[in-house]
């Protein structure tokens, strides 16, 4: 009970336990190779359907039309709510696109 008595204060040193849990294993993931340019490329704009993100991406699409018309942009919605992974959409983009922009994340 020495520590109990010491816990009352003063200059005595106490030993206490750490309250923090154990972190998860971090597995490194390879990034997709970057494109050598966007001319003639197909870029998917992925709408996670959260807080007016679709309206935002339409402005992004307009920017490409105005400034980089050689880039073909395709706006797609995620298949459900943003909290669910959407492998079907990711596979479709891999098969048909050169790159993707997803937004807007909160």
């Amino acid at each position: 009970m020495a520590n109990e008595a010491q816990a009352s204060g003063g200059t005595h040193k106490l030993t206490v336990l750490n309250p923090v849990g154990f972190p998860p294993k971090t597995v490194a993931k390879a990034m997709s190779p970057r494109l050598d340019g966007l001319d003639g490329k197909t870029i998917y704009l992925v709408d996670p359907r959260f807080d007016d993100s679709g309206l935002f991406l339409r402005q992004l699409q307009d920017w490409f039309a105005d400034h980089m018309p050689s880039v073909q942009t395709k706006l797609v919605e995620m298949s459900s709510v943003y909290t669910k992974d959407d492998p079907k959409t990711w596979e479709m983009i891999k098969a048909n696109g050169d790159g993707a922009i997803i937004g807007v994340g909160h």
Partner: protein, 427 residues
């Protein structure tokens, strides 16, 4: 390449790092996007990234084309990387350390000495090094792991008595965080049922949701502390993004159901347990509350409908009824079983379809599911704008009896039932 709003800079950095993608490419636009016009959003696109100070579209184009630097990061090692002890120090310095490390709820804590933790551990048959569960602050982060001893450390910090420990272990094991990170500032709610309530002297009666009972207060506080510390933190702007915060989080609205004065079967029996079992039931998403007095003879239906219409359409109602109000619902509506009252609420919580679908939370979380055919949302989507549709599903609506019969006040808590967990398994 991803675009985010600038309020989420730290979140984006920590989530991509923890998922093994520190090289992830992203750019930022100002917060908020919600509610802005097309012209305002185009100005975001044409404007400057508020984090990098460079044009947003320059960041976007370079994010897609600039070569990656270096190879893959080496795989991190999964060690028991959190030490069992903190460095020995004086009481004053240790309190300062716990506060500075965001290990507290900013109220004074009890320092978790070995002796105090050992006393806590003596109230479970589980071994200190047994894995008790996994927690994370939201679905975008990875689970952290913790042992029975780690739960005991947090229980001590909260001021809980050792005899409460099986209840706290049950809460920790449930895998449901009381420090969930959403911008909506949700809190948890905990309902305790069965013999453990009286064994540890929990309060189901007068003032049950107020700070007048040691077990109610400290079990709920322990649930919050263990959630933030065992999931890897709960830091505003980083791992906690509740815009306004929520006072309910201080003890996660923790109370015992008043089974003895309830005219209905206890909540845990409704969910498959025996009356002699001891359980904890966890709700999340607690934000909105409506209240009234009594169940009036003439207009009770209208009163309840009005209360339901005032609730957030995305958070289902849980009725928290003083025993007086519970009996009045039986007298007025013939609800001799909780299920009958739940059915009535399901039938009477109505809203015009156009109004329902325009709610931002419905747009974010329900509308996408409806458009891809998920029922009952897909059928609701077919309704004309003025057609009245049901706001909730029957299995989302719940009833709990709580209160000391000083009067017939009752309230509706907007929240989402998660699960009921056995306390007895953690004795």
């Amino acid at each position: 390449m991803a675009l985010h709003t600038n309020a989420f800079e730290k979140v984006v950095q920590s989530v991509t790092r923890m998922h093994g993608m520190p090289q992830a490419r992203y750019a930022f636009v100002p917060q908020p996007v919600m509610g802005k016009t097309a012209a305002q959003l185009r100005a975001y696109v044409d404007g400057i990234d508020p984090i990098s100070g460079r044009p947003v579209m320059q960041e976007v184009v370079e994010g897609l084309t600039r070569p990656l630097e270096g190879d893959r990061i080496p795989e991190a090692k999964f060690e028991r990387s959190t030490p069992r002890f903190v460095d020995t120090d004086t009481e004053e310095n240790l309190h300062h350390l716990f506060l500075e490390n965001n290990w507290t709820d900013n109220l004074p804590i009890i320092l978790p000495t070995e002796e105090r933790v050992a006393k806590m551990l003596a109230h479970t048959s589980r071994k200190p090094d047994e894995i008790a569960g996994h927690l994370r602050s939201n679905q975008f982060r990875q689970h952290w792991e913790f042992t029975v001893e780690k739960v005991a450390v947090n229980a001590v910090m909260a001021g809980a008595r050792p005899e409460y420990f099986p209840v706290i272990l049950a809460l920790a094991s449930a895998g449901v965080s009381a420090r969930g990170s959403t911008t909506s500032s949700m809190a948890a709610m905990v309902v305790v049922n069965g013999p453990i309530r009286s064994a540890i002297k929990m309060n189901p009666g007068t003032g049950a949701m107020a700070p007048f009972n040691h077990a109610n207060a400290t079990i709920g506080r322990a649930y919050g502390l263990l959630s933030q510390n065992l999931q890897g933190g709960s830091l505003p702007g980083d791992s906690y993004m509740g815009s306004q915060g929520n006072n309910y989080m201080y003890n996660s609205v923790t109370f015992a159901e008043n089974e003895e004065r309830s005219p209905w079967e206890p909540f845990h029996v409704q969910h498959g347990f025996k009356a002699t079992d001891s359980t904890v039931s966890i709700f999340t998403g607690c934000r909105s509350t409506a209240f009234t007095l009594g169940v009036r003879e003439r207009y009770w239906r209208e009163h309840v409908r009005s209360m339901l219409r005032g609730m957030d359409a995305h958070s289902a109602p849980t009725f928290l009824l003083d025993p007086i109000a519970a009996r009045q619902f039986i007298d007025r509506g013939g609800f001799d079983r909780k299920e009958k009252l739940i059915d009535w609420v399901y039938e009477n919580a109505l809203m015009p379809a156009g109004e329902y679908w325009d709610y931002q939370l419905i747009q974010n979380y329900i509308y996408p599911r409806a458009t891809f055919g998920e029922e009952p949302y897909a059928s609701k989507l077919k309704a004309a704008p003025q057609e009245m549709i049901r706001m909730f599903k029957p299995d989302e609506i719940h009833v709990v009896v709580i209160g000391g019969e000083t009067n017939g006040y009752w309230r509706i808590m907007g929240c989402n039932y998660q699960k009921t967990v056995s306390v007895d398994e953690w004795r």
